[in-house]
Symmetry: C2
Subunit: 423 residues, 2 copies
């Protein structure tokens, strides 16, 4: 291990926004840091839907953790799966061997929740990892290919119907991008079908999309979606999903491609802790983000539940980043024998995009929509991306896509024949 | 089907260099063309090793066939698997349904040949498709990750040993790129291992690498490889491959990563034709590339065996491209009632690259090596790439890689734990 062997050992689990920013804040400090992740890359999740809809390459929004932390010589990155955390013994069970720690930062994120319908997972994949995004891309592109070969009209209609379940930012962004693909990108690529006639249906259980935003922005987002051809269904609770249809109560919508953007749940790792969790499986942390009864162990990002001014903090990248930095500072404070500080989230704004040149944003008292919100969204997301190469390439890809309506990454890289049971 | 319904139906099987250039040559002509492929993209195979070694993204060297042929309105692209060709009935059996033709161009390419050792396929993957390239990339990157976690010295050595079997252009290019990754790209990314100590071993059964080139260039290529750290083993026939070693006669080389670049065989589709094939399963075509006894059916590229001036034509992109164009012309000639013309390959040069800034090339009487050959290689390959976007991005990626020694695409996008039976 690098770093002085006598330095305290800080283990960070997860290289997402929270874990990575904690590691960066500990770089060069008198601690030995080990960052464990199951993937070799940090992922810029807010743009994942762009990989799913073939606008960006996987490499444009992901960077190997080793490259990001190359100069942080007191940080060791290891590809490992943490199977259990023993808080009392201060020890992790890995897929191979164990690891002890003096301080622990749990930042292992969240996965999809199907609200007790685990069987929907294969029928309606969600969007959390690069693999998810590539799988969604594959399904969407293959649906058009299959429609081009299909001679039965009803089946062709089902192939050209895309249902997105969940009207939060991810669902809105996915539906908007799918509409653009059908209306513009591939509109002239097929001979026998007209992709522009594809149905994109966004299904939301509550009364409006983007419920975390002010109501006026929800309405504007809904209109923007309708304008680009998305059918928005609110107060519509999905009761059943089959390989070729989605049911809203008694109503059946025939569709071969169904995507899930409705619910998240903390990683199962949280359950191994043996501490109180909230309904979504997130750790109910103390105000300094430490795990109650274990002041040397912290849970951050989507793994923790924290209430501020009576409202739970949302599962957003800025929250995780601020929590990562604050926790790194608290770890150092504790090791120096100082008291830790309570975490306080500073909201710098929230935004969601609706296809090309439309978005909604809330920045303090400001409510933005349309092109100005989209430009703000573009600027913030490009500036956030880690590493010059990605920033430049993403900008170029977007500029290029904007000018030509092409999507450069339209490749299907797995066998195209449906797997058994998949359809 | 577009195109006048009365126009003759030309079916092309395979969207590689041969099939794609045949389709392009038939665009706008009085024929209905259907291009069938199992993938949705055309692949620039000469740069596939760069995807395998994480220098380029999959999307940089592949373009959807639909985009390439968007303006060829008499060409329909279908994603389909051809299972059997019935030459007498002029009919193809597809994975679903059948298709009749008036003229047929078979351009389904080649796959790996393990010389009767089919069991080596999972132990030593070859490099023909994007999936192959991504699988090789995954294995190489995971070997370094596993070595970083390994405490046993001998096992760590096996993880850091990479054997490339086959000293043709693909093997030489792969070995050179692997050496560069270990010596430069990731040299400073690890804390516990020194990637620069990795062994890269190129094993060739014959007396010299690049046997299709003049002997002086073979020697220069060998020296260039040794200079960047590749161990070149000639006259070395692999007799056994196990999950952690390669055997050359009685000698054992411990290595966890073994890559296959030794042999190719025509696609099994050729066997379904019921016509004479050569040893590698390629169709022994007439001088006009038609299948003997079936003047309306042609086999081109890696699917056919043709001898010119006493030497078999090599399995290279320029050969397939020229054959595709010549065959399109012959199809039109036949349909117009004119006699077909014999195919004649015009050799414009051959080249192979050996890592950064070194290559060998033969252009007519000229034998080039070193930087000048590499610049020629770079120029030719970039100019050949289809589509401006790719050309620009590839150039940028290379320029960037050249300046920084970084490889942008170093992502592992499949679960990192070995699959059962894989190791």
């Amino acid at each position: 291990m690098p770093g002085a062997a006598t330095d305290p050992h800080v283990v960070i689990v997860g290289g997402g926004f929270g874990g990575l920013h904690a590691a960066r804040a500990l770089a060069g400090r008198p601690v030995r840091v080990t960052l464990l992740d199951r993937r070799n890359h940090h992922l810029f999740q807010p743009l994942l839907y762009q990989v799913a809809t073939a606008a960006l390459n996987a490499a444009d929004i992901a960077t190997p953790l080793r490259s990001i932390l190359r100069r942080a010589t007191n940080v060791t990155v290891l590809l490992a799966d943490v199977e259990k955390v023993d808080l009392a013994a201060r020890r992790l069970d890995l897929d191979r061997g164990h690891m002890s720690y003096d301080a622990l930062i749990l930042a292992a994120g969240a996965s999809h929740s199907y609200f007790g319908h685990g069987e929907w997972e294969t029928l309606a994949p969600g969007l959390k990892t690069l693999e998810d995004a590539l799988e969604i891309r594959r399904r969407v592109l293959l649906a058009y290919e299959a429609a081009e070969r299909e001679e039965d009209g009803a089946e062709q209609g089902a192939l050209l119907s895309f249902v997105v379940i969940g009207g939060g930012p991810t669902g809105v962004e996915l539906a908007g991008a799918l509409a653009e693909i059908s209306r513009e990108t591939i509109a002239r690529d097929f001979r026998l079908i007209d992709p522009a006639k594809a149905r994109i249906i966004l299904v939301e259980g509550g009364p409006r999309v983007l419920s975390a935003f002010p109501e006026t922005l929800s309405r504007r987002a809904e209109r923007a979606l309708q304008k680009i051809g998305v059918e928005v269904r609110t107060d519509a609770v999905v009761t059943r999903i089959t390989p070729d249809a989605v049911w809203i109560g008694g109503e059946q919508i025939r569709a071969r491609t169904v995507l899930w953007a409705a619910g998240v749940a903390a990683t199962p790792l949280a359950r191994s802790l043996g501490v109180p969790l909230d309904r979504s499986g997130r750790v109910l942390v103390d105000p300094d983000l430490s795990i109650p009864g274990h002041p040397e162990a912290f849970a951050i990002g989507d793994m923790c539940a924290l209430t501020q001014e009576g409202r739970p903090l949302p599962g957003l990248a800025p929250v995780a980043i601020q929590e990562g930095r604050a926790t790194a500072a608290n770890v150092l404070r504790r090791l120096a024998g100082l008291p830790t500080r309570a975490f306080r989230y500073r909201d710098k704004g929230t935004m969601a995009t609706i296809g090309r040149a439309a978005a909604v944003a809330v920045v303090g008292p400001l409510k933005l929509s349309g092109l100005i919100a989209w430009l703000a969204w573009l600027f913030v997301h490009i500036m956030f991306l880690i590493g010059f190469r990605n920033r430049f390439l993403v900008l170029f890809e977007w500029a290029w896509a904007y000018v030509t309506w092409h999507r450069g990454a339209r490749l299907i890289t797995r066998p195209w024949r449906p797997e058994p049971g998949e359809r």
